[in-house]
Symmetry: C2
DNA sequence: TTACCATTCAATTAATTAATTGAATAGTTT
DNA sequence: AAACTATTCAATTAATTAATTGAATGGTAA
């Protein structure tokens, strides 16, 4: 029956239709992973494909969806399209979603715990408790993300040792102080792998669970080389 | 080709699969509307169906999806199932999504502006600027939501005049002070309708855009009659 | 016990979405 | 000009999702 809907019903349908654009954009695991990667800095389609294991065409399709939802933007330089998060509010929203998922979905905690326990990991530590010691030179804060991500933004006082260069540094690090390692955040495995390698060489190393995204979310200062 | 995936890829796929449960839950305009209603207090399936214009079976289907994503919970009392938001973090997340949508989607602002302009509305006002005047008895803060929502939680110093009872009150209100009206928030039309009716009778009435959800999100105190 | 009520379940249909594959496009290099 | 490169587009296929309809379930009232 084609009954006329009241203005308020039409208004609500339109508004909720718009809000659902955000929901649809993040209903795909693939697009959430892409967004998480972009939270660390701009990336090309090719780089996103390699990092996620998806085909280039598939990544491009997903990026079009994210563009349509206004969560990302891009600039072309030559053959390359460099994508980035549309603005900081997108990153904040991703952190909020992570917090909700951790809070509500037992599976999230379980999957993380099971994965990290394979590395015989102690619990991660929190940056707040360390900031004084880092400033005093008491310990080393190590960023093991790709260097371009470090250059884009990093935690204060962090040194950059990309995971694929760690091997070369294993004999050159100061042995007399603890090393705290971080990477892209809770969905990234670089830090846990780096801690394992460092401990194998006798260093006192620990994993920091937070990355720059969580840090920005809490309005803490970030350093950049740009 | 059935190539073995590294442990880290499996881990990421599992974690992002979990995060996508949240995204999928809110990818439907219908489910977002249901969540927004539940942010105002517990409701039965029948009430949700009436408020949203959906069939009871359809509401129930959507609620099962939200249950599966752990965003809602319910208790049965006799024939009735009373649904509510799983906890406060769900409400916070909904507010964050709203903020993001407003920030990113020009259509959201546009749809709201177009709708409210039909009511010849002035811009809404903010509670922060009013709190002193309300406490001094200078103006009246009026909650026009259904009374059970008011009882569940309301802004400090608010009086309850459900929209469908406003007609009866139109001759009894103090004429010498301004009236500030609020309802469920930015997706609700009760406040704008109430302001229109009040102005027609000569009252100085204004619409408050925020509701209890935004207020709680900013960690401001809420009153309850429960 | 029977009738009524609110809700959930199941089957169906239509619409939407995700990944793949190959073509098309636009910029760069030779 | 031709070849190469990164990316986007379009068509296809399979899977998933949303709404409807009617049956089933469990609690209450008569």
């Amino acid at each position: 029956m084609n009954q006329k809907q009241p203005t308020s019903r039409i208004f609500k349908n339109e508004i909720y239709g718009q809000l659902a654009r955000i929901g649809k954009a993040i209903s795909s695991p693939r697009r959430i992973e892409i967004l998480d990667l972009l939270a660390q800095g701009q990336k090309s389609v090719e780089v996103l494909a390699r990092e996620t294991g998806m085909s280039i065409a598939n990544v491009s399709q997903h990026l079009q969806t994210l563009l349509d939802a206004r969560l990302v933007r891009y600039e072309k330089r030559g053959n390359y399209s460099y994508y980035r998060l549309a603005d900081e509010s997108v990153s904040d929203f991703l952190v909020a979603m992570n917090l909700l998922a951790e809070n509500r979905l037992a599976d999230v905690k379980h999957i993380r715990q099971e994965f990290y326990s394979k590395y015989d990991e102690t619990d991660p530590i929190e940056l707040d408790t360390l900031i004084d010691r880092i400033e005093n030179g008491d310990l080393t804060l190590m960023d093991v993300r790709p260097r371009d991500e470090y250059e884009a933004a990093h935690l204060p006082h962090a040194v950059s040792v990309p995971i694929d260069e760690l091997e070369k540094h294993l004999s050159h690090l100061p042995k007399d102080q603890e090393i705290v390692v971080y990477c892209r955040g809770k969905q990234c495995v670089y830090a846990v792998q780096a801690v394992r390698q460092l401990r194998k060489k006798g260093y006192q190393a620990y994993r920091l669970e937070e990355g720059i995204q969580e840090w920005k979310y809490r309005n803490r200062p970030i350093e950049t080389n740009q």
